[in-house]
Structure formats: C-alpha cells, structure tokens
C-alpha cells in the first residue's frame, strides 16, 4: 500500500537546508508511490515552497506565524500537529538535525507512535520499508521496522542522496495556526560555528587534534576548509586543551559526521573520536606518529608534520580547482 508522507523542510540563515531535499528523497521510498507533502514552519517561509517542489515534493504546506521565527518545541509542535490533523499522513520524515531531534520525540509521543531516529539508509518501499541506523556510536548497525501505525523516521544528514533538481509544479498552500502558550523564550543565538558551513552537513571536514598545539594552529586548517568549502572540526583533546570550542568536537561525545572527505590532522585516533567520523566516505590522516591509530581507518595517510603538510595541501588544491 502506498503512504501519504509528511516531510519537515528546514531553513537555516535564509536558505533551505540540504537535509530538506534528502528527506523528500527518503519520503519517496517510505511512500511507495504515495503523495509526499513538505511542511515548512517559520515566520516567513512561503518563498521556499517552490524549491521543495523542484526537489520532488508533490505539495507544500507552509505554516507562518510571528511566534515561529525561532524554533521552540511548543511552537513547532502546535504547527506540525495542525498539519497532521489536516492531512492525516501515514508516515513522517524529519531531518536528524537540532530541530528534528528536539521535535520528533514530542510529535511521536503525541501520536503515540514509534520513532526510528538517525536513519542512514532505507531498504524496500512503502509497507516493506526497513530502516537502517547506526548504533553503539557507529560500531554496529541495526535494521528496524515499524510494527504498525504511522512510520516515523528522522534521517541523518548527508547519507540519503536527494533527487535530481528539476523544474516541477506543485501546489504551495498555507495553513493558519494559532500559536499560543510558548513556555520557552529564545533570547539570543551566539554563532560559534564557522560561517556558512554546518559541520553536520559539510561535504569536507578538516579536523585537528592535540597535534595542532594551539588555537592559532587551527588557522591553516581553516584556510584549507575555506578553500574546499568545508568546515573545521576537532578531537576531544583539542577541545579539552581549549584550542577550539566544544561545538566543533567530533566523536562519541560530540558530533557524528559523515562527510565525503575527512582530513584528520594531528589526531591520534582514540576510539571515541573514530566513533564520530569512521563512516566518512574518504578519510585522510596526517600524523607524525606512523603508529597512530588514525592510520587504521584512513584511506590515505601521510606521515609528517601537519604544519608542513596542510599549507602544501592548500597550495596543491588551489592548482587543481
């Protein structure tokens, strides 16, 4: 049986996040040929509707309200539940993002359904869909199935490929929802992450460890990341030593990332760090110690001083790009 699927679209700094398109592609599989409806929530989001259609949404519903300018679980759940009431979907797909992680359990609780979080792949379609997700910090995987009722999943960014963008047509409508009784007041967001590129969605990550030795030591890494349109990350050691903020930490505690290219510079490769990055598509390790654990998961390794290698890499990349 085909399913009607609602997909949460997300914007960040005035543009749609990639994960919104990936979620539409995931929803197509979940739907097994049924209708895929994207939902956009915010204070001014209608302009993004058409682009979601271009990425495969059959329809888009927007919920706009001044109280939805910043995400709060109260505000967004009221908006989402109103759309669910109207549409009566058979499945839901959110991104496994800050918003998706925070909102999905509340919605699942209200609907009294299961929720399969952090899905990285989908086997089968429609009623036969089986969801694959990493467990034990990526050291194992499980296949999970919904036992009945609404299929509800969140997908990890960067794992399910979006559909090819094409000019498509589809209805973009708005739903008016009264948003009341917000118990959380957002006062301020301090940007700590590097401008533009979000670590969890970055295609390229240049990560530094204790071997970077100082906050200044991260500058060449940032330069290379900027050149490749990537983001800078760090091991726990580098964060503990105060070279960079904990917000950049990759590992068991910290972020789990799966970029196309992960360059580890001066990172020994403690198992906790590997948990956060070992599923990256291509891993490059640069370390002075040829015995460093990181070389065991690396596709390519250079035994050498990162302060020598990284600037040379930047120059070399400039030549070929």
């Amino acid at each position: 049986m085909s399913k009607k699927v609602l997909v949460l679209g997300e914007t960040r700094e005035g543009s749609l996040r990639n994960v919104s398109f990936e979620a539409i592609a995931a929803a197509k599989k979940v739907s097994g040929g049924g209708e895929v409806v994207s939902v956009l929530i915010g204070d001014s989001v209608a302009e993004f509707g058409a682009e979601l259609v271009n990425y495969g949404a059959d329809r888009v519903i927007t919920v706009e309200h001044p109280h939805l300018k910043s995400y709060t679980s109260d505000g967004y759940s009221q908006a989402m539940m109103a759309v669910i009431d109207q549409e009566q979907p058979e499945a839901l797909v959110f991104g496994h993002t800050a918003v998706g992680k925070d909102l999905s359990p509340k919605i699942a609780s209200k609907l009294q359904t299961g929720l399969i979080s952090d899905v990285t792949d989908i086997e089968g379609e429609g009623d036969d869909a089986v969801y694959i997700r990493p467990i034990y910090s990526g050291k194992a995987f499980e296949k999970v199935k919904n036992k009945g009722g609404i299929d509800f999943i969140t997908i990890r960014p960067n794992n399910i490929a979006p559909l090819e963008r094409e000019e498509r047509s589809g209805d973009v409508s708005s739903l008016s929802v009264d948003i009341t009784n917000l118990r959380t007041i957002i006062q301020n967001v301090v940007r700590k992450s590097a401008e533009g590129v979000d670590l969890s969605e970055a295609k390229v990550i240049i990560a530094g460890g204790r071997g970077v030795k100082s906050a200044e030591g991260f500058e060449p890494l940032q330069e290379l990341a900027d050149l490749l349109g990537g983001a800078v990350g760090a091991s726990r050691g580098a964060c503990d030593a105060d070279y960079v903020d904990y917000s950049l930490q990759i590992g068991q505690t910290g972020k789990v990332v799966t970029p196309d290219l992960y360059i580890a510079a001066g990172i020994s490769g403690a198992i906790q760090h590997l948990a956060g990055m070992s599923n990256s598509k291509v891993i490059v390790a640069i370390n002075k110690d040829p015995e460093a654990n990181i070389f065991k998961v690396a596709d390519y390794g250079i035994v050498g001083d990162l302060f020598e290698v990284i600037p040379m890499l930047t120059e070399e990349f400039k030549k070929v790009m």
Partner: protein, 257 residues
Amino acid sequence: MNIYVLVKRTFDTEEKLVISGGKIQEDGAEFIINPYDEYAIEEAINVRDEHGGEVTVITMGGEDAEKQLRTALAMGADKAVLINTEDDVEEMDQFTSAYILAEYLKDKEADLILAGNVAIDGGSGQVGPRVADLLDINYVTTITSLKIEGEKVTIVRDIEGDAEELETSLPLLVTAQQGLNEPRYPSLPGIMKAKKKPLEELELDDLDIDEDDVEAKTETIEIYLPPAKAAGRILEGDISNQVTELVGLLKNEAKVI
C-alpha cells in the same frame, strides 16, 4: 527542590563488539553510566547543593543496573530507584521506556528532571522529550548551561555548534550536552556512604502498568557489524611528492573533490 535524573546503563563502546545470535554479546563486557547521563547527575548534584532538595536517580533494566545506581549515589545523589523490567518486558523501544518512566514520575511533583541528551548505545535521544510530553512539562535538549532563580530558568543550549540562550520556568526536563560540567569521580567516602543510601526496586505491577500498554512500537530485525575497511595506503617519498600524489588520488581515484 525535587530533582530526578534518568540514567541508562550502557555498554562501554570502547569495548570490542561481538555479535552472536543476532544480538550484541554482553558477557564479560564492561558496562558504564551513559556518559551524557553523568553530566546530568553532576548538574543535579550542583543544583541541589545550591538550592537544597533531593536528587533521585532512576534507571530501568535488570538487577545489574544497581551497580550504576550505586555509582550515581557515590557521586552524591540521595536516592535511587530501579524499575526492574527484566521479567515483564521482552522487547523495549523508546515508547516503552518513556511510558514506564512517566508512569513512575507522574505523581512525584518533580521540579527538575535531567537526562543525557542521547545514550551512546541506542543513540536515539528520544526518551527525555517523550517523558516531558507525557508529563505535560516543558523540555530543553542539549543544554550546556543551567541557571535557576526561583521559578525562572536561564539556559544555554547547543544547536549544532551554535549557542542558543533561552528562558523558561520550572517544572522542566532538560537533557545534558557535553560542556555542561565536568562530572566528578566518586570519592572513597562517597562510595562508603552510597552503600547505605536508599535504593528502591520496583516492578511494573508496582506502577500499575499492564504489559500490553508498553508493547514496543518498533522492532529490531537485524543487528550487524559494518563491513571491515580495507587497509589504507600510507604514501611514501618526500613530503611535497606525497602531497601532490594525495591531491591526485582524491581527485581521480576517490573522486571526492
């Protein structure tokens, strides 16, 4: 202040994973308090020390989880509760866990409930927000700072690397992110004291929960290890040649740039 901490006993993921009979082999493996829950316990103790009150740590599972509860008591929690589900619940999912915890908490008039933002084994991060929804209290996830003045609560939370500052009020459930604090190690006197602190054991019957009410909504049909990765290639020659070769490999072989 009436403070509760939701704690999970987890497999130490530094351990080697072995799968047999479709399950992770647990025999002889090391179990720990989920690291994110340690931040929650530490924060609960700090809040109590500043504002007074009592910290109760709760976990679900089998008798083995007593060890982790004793550790939490040794850190400084006042009381512990083990909801023993061993005989009653065969398959659990996040729906099951949240339902049981909420049934326990619903008449406790908790001012503050803390939990880790995610468990390192299952990795779903659902139980905290689900419990808050069932109790109809507000929640804030992945917090890195918590300040309480009267009913007013000021929080900083991590949103994918950025820091969001917000205000809310008690009663409240929060989930801890790394950076919230530095969890203490239990001291020797703490460990001695913990042996005498109350540890209550309950079963579903004690909470008037019917087994059918907590039947899991999802089903794990297979657990497997990722395919072993082929050994990588350590480049050779002088550094500048290695760098040139690497860029060539990334462009032409791996095709990632």
